[in-house]
């Protein structure tokens, strides 16, 4: 049964409290939990950190909203902590990275499949094929640096194959900007999809920027530098889909609705009972945030939130392997490039992009070097040619 967004009160903000002990709970098992439990944890951390980021930006521009934003942001901060701390410490930074790319692939594919707007869906597929390639490059690094099999993290849900080569993903800024949706025409679901991807990609960018310098190996340092640059392009791309005509309050309402939608999706899909209880609690809190944002929307904008959101939340996000959809997209669209907001054949790229890319790659391409000749196989690429000597 669908969840009524407008008619579910949720937990009152005054009753949303945590202790430090609650913030730091038993993490999931890297070995025994389903990979999609990790996918949901990473995704929700991205959604929460986007909420905090947006809230700060809104506070800088809206004196009247500062107090309610600060009150809700305090809770979002602790929600983000509780969620992100569910990842176990036995994940190396590179293994967590594999998890991040699995989110980028499986969640983006899932949203692209359901996206009603053809241009937005095309944009999601465009980004998907780039993240798909990142997975291949990082899997090569995990294998060749740490001697580990990326599939221990992926649990066979996600292919490890080249996508649109990362080396050709570098574009001039103008070629990362897309046409935004029209806030009056776009469906509610489309807006939720765009916000979800902005949040997911932003945290991926921030994560790579944070862990990249923690590696000793220059191969890893260069690889993170290169892929972090693409993640910045992706944030630029997905962010440009949002209608700049939306007021801060409208954006806030959508952010809160999106948090509800994502937690609702997690509740519906979760297989780990302990984690499911957390999703339920977080959903209850977010519904409370949404109701408060609705009240402020009515007070300051004199508008009905029902103009922005649907009464019921859309069907939840599907958390499952999208292997066939990804393969079809790969086969049909890997050679597409972007020229301004348009998707074009490789020959039609802008000169600005070609010039920029040539210079960036002129002293070598980390993503090409790390994956030179790389073919994933179960148990790492070392699981062959026994007896090879050097």
């Amino acid at each position: 049964m669908a969840l009524s967004l407008l008619n579910t009160k949720g937990c009152d903000l005054d009753r949303q409290r945590f202790t430090w002990r609650e913030l730091v709970q038993t993490p999931i098992s890297k070995l025994d939990d389903d990979a999609f439990t990790r996918v949901r944890i990473i995704l929700m951390n991205g959604i929460e950190t986007e909420a905090i980021r947006f809230s700060h930006l809104a506070a800088r521009c809206n004196a009247d909203l500062r107090l309610p934003l600060a009150r809700i942001r305090r809770v979002e901060q602790h929600q983000a902590t509780l969620v992100n701390w569910l990842l176990g410490s036995d994940h190396s930074a590179l293994e967590t990275t594999i998890g991040y790319e699995q989110v980028a692939i499986e969640v983006t594919a899932s949203l692209a499949l359901r996206e009603p707007d053809p241009y937005l869906a095309q944009t999601f597929r465009f980004g998907l094929l780039e993240d798909f390639d990142h997975m291949y490059r990082y899997a090569a690094l995990l294998d060749r640096l740490e001697g580990k099999d990326a599939n221990n993290i992926l649990q066979s849900y996600t292919d490890i194959l080249p996508g649109r080569p990362t080396a050709v993903e570098h574009r001039a800024p103008a070629d990362d900007l897309r046409n935004n949706y029209d806030r009056n025409q776009a469906q509610f679901l489309s807006k939720l999809h765009c916000l979800t991807l902005v949040g997911a990609e932003y945290q991926t960018h921030d994560y790579y920027m944070h862990v990249g310098p923690q590696f000793a190996d220059p191969v890893a340092r260069q690889l993170y530098a290169e892929i972090a640059s693409i993640e910045e392009q992706h944030v630029t791309q997905y962010e440009s889909l949002l209608d700049p005509g939306e007021s801060f309050l409208e954006q806030w309402l959508l952010h809160e609705a999106n948090e509800c939608y994502n937690y609702y999706s997690c509740v519906e899909a979760e297989t780990n009972h302990q984690i499911k209880a957390i999703w339920e609690r977080m959903l209850d809190y977010e519904l409370g945030h949404f109701q408060l944002a609705c009240e402020l929307f009515k007070t300051y904008k004199r508008r009905d939130p029902a103009e922005i959101v649907t009464t019921d939340l859309p069907r939840p996000i599907e958390f499952k392997s999208q292997r066939e959809f990804v393969r079809q997209t790969l086969a049909g669209e890997v050679d597409l490039r972007a020229n301004g907001p348009r998707y074009v054949p490789a020959a039609d790229e802008s000169q600005a992009t070609v010039t920029y890319r040539c210079h960036m790659n002129s002293q070598g391409s980390p993503t090409e070097q790390v994956a030179a000749g790389y073919v994933w196989r179960p148990g790492t690429e070392l699981n062959r040619n026994v007896g090879v000597t050097h």
């Binding site: 036995d90 060749r144 070097q369």
Partner: protein
């Protein structure tokens, strides 16, 4: 905490045979290239241009400057000894914390399946700290600064980081922690042996005697930890000894027999 339980470990391909088969059905179009060579080329330029991690601090006191300076003139590189003293100090300091974390865990979950006793463990912790102070004193005698972090001290911190992660993880068992501590003790023994050789090369006889006593204690630590670790796996000392003999025998056997 039950380290040997069987369960729903999902990491291997056997857990998802259909998906795993699907993953391997597409032959990727990847040009044949030497991956190892490609990585080596990227690393090479950085290795060539790299500076070291940093320097060994100059002895700050007059006595130290004179004594180490004099030795330097003899070409005997006292900075190596100072660096390695710094390393041992750092390692013993971290080792003390490592044992403290293990004590904490044992206070809660230790049972009588192994012969480890909390008092023994606390004594090992205290000896690590005594060794740390012993090294600090030696550094001061040479005019060095025991509060400085030398390059090798920095590196043992990097090396030990994983060991601390293992022992402080609430999910790890005592047996799993003992494996980490065993790794530390093996490295510690080698570290003391090196330090004694370096002190001996500098003609620091008193220091050699004190360090040799510390080495003896570390050997005892190693023996105890190894025993507890083996017991945690259900092995007795005899089992391990027997296995080692069998391995030696197998290796000694001629290939054509």
């Amino acid at each position: 905490m039950d380290e040997d339980k069987m369960g729903m470990n999902r990491t291997g391909v056997q857990m998802s045979p259909i998906d795993s088969k699907a993953m391997q059905e597409l032959a990727p179009t990847v040009p044949e290239m030497d991956g190892e060579q490609a990585l080596s080329e990227l690393r090479a330029s950085y290795i060539t241009e790299a500076d070291g991690l940093g320097s060994v601090p100059l002895p700050g006191t007059f006595k130290g400057v004179v004594s180490s300076g004099m030795t330097m003139l003899k070409g005997e590189s006292p900075q190596i000894l100072l660096d390695k003293l710094g390393e041992r100090l750092a390692f013993e300091r971290t080792g003390t914390r490592l044992y403290e974390a293990l004590v904490c865990k044992c206070e809660i979950i230790l049972d009588d399946t192994i012969s480890l006793r909390l008092d023994d463990l606390r004594e090992l912790r205290n000896e690590e700290q005594r060794h740390m102070l012993l090294v600090a004193e030696a550094i001061e005698e040479l005019g060095g600064d025991p509060t400085a972090q030398t390059p090798c001290a920095d590196l043992v911190g990097v090396e030990a980081a994983g060991l601390l992660q293992v022992v402080t993880d609430p999910r790890t068992s005592i047996g799993q922690c003992l494996h980490a501590v065993l790794t530390a003790e093996l490295s510690d023994r080698a570290g003391w042996e090196t330090l004694i050789a370096l002190a001996d090369a500098q003609g620091l006889d008193d220091m050699v005697i004190r360090f040799s006593q510390a080495l003896e204690t570390e050997r005892e630590h190693l023996g105890m930890v190894e025993t507890w670790y083996n017991e945690s796996l259900g092995l007795s000392y005899g089992d391990v000894d027997l296995a080692a003999s069998a391995l030696t025998g197998a290796r000694a056997r001629p290939l054509n027999t």
